[in-house]
Subunit: 114 residues, 2 copies
């Protein structure tokens, strides 16, 4: 089991904003899967809640990945509230899972770490 968070690498955002969005993404994924498959979340937590943080080039790649993944694995796009650094509503990252490794791996294999 793992949760994958994917950031755009074309935004000029600081590490504090990255951290805040990563926390938001992590909790959003947790809640989404907990509401449908709580046993998956519990197993993931019991294994130490593994997380991988990856990157894509831009918004187009992020949305493309989301569209492919969401057909078989719980996933959600995360937007910025836009108080600082970027415009309101800017897509920042994508959270996938927590879910089975093999179901996630076929979408993210070969992608680069953030």
């Amino acid at each position: 089991m793992k949760q994958v968070i994917v950031f755009r690498s074309d935004l000029k955002i600081g590490k504090g904003k990255i951290a805040a969005h990563a926390a938001h993404a992590g909790i959003t994924g947790y809640e989404r899967v907990m509401s449908k498959k709580p046993a998956v979340v519990k197993e993931w937590l019991s294994e130490g809640q593994k997380k991988i943080v990856l990157r894509v080039k831009d918004e187009e790649e992020l949305v493309g990945l989301y569209e492919r993944v969401k057909r078989s694995v719980p996933a959600e796009l995360i937007r910025d509230a836009g108080h600082t650094q970027v415009e309101a509503g800017t897509l920042i990252c994508l959270v996938i899972g927590p879910w089975e490794d093999e179901d996630i791996d076929r979408f993210v294999e070969g992608m680069k770490l953030l």
Copy 2:
């Protein structure tokens, strides 16, 4: 309501590791408060789950802050599993809340953003 995540700034860790730990911290705080005061978590989520990411100088400051905060606000230290970049068990960050703003603010007022 807010959740505050505080990182040490003396560790040489990349933004990917910061993001993974922020997600871990966010979920750990969520779970901790949910198990004791679910109404607080629900209110925080309904308000948009505000998060602030701050920094302290080193481990000593992080542990000192944790010791002061935990008497009145749910808080937890997050350690690295130690696969890369730092030694296993290294303290990386602290999660506070989600909890009432005013109860958190008296501990973190004046601290710098990450």
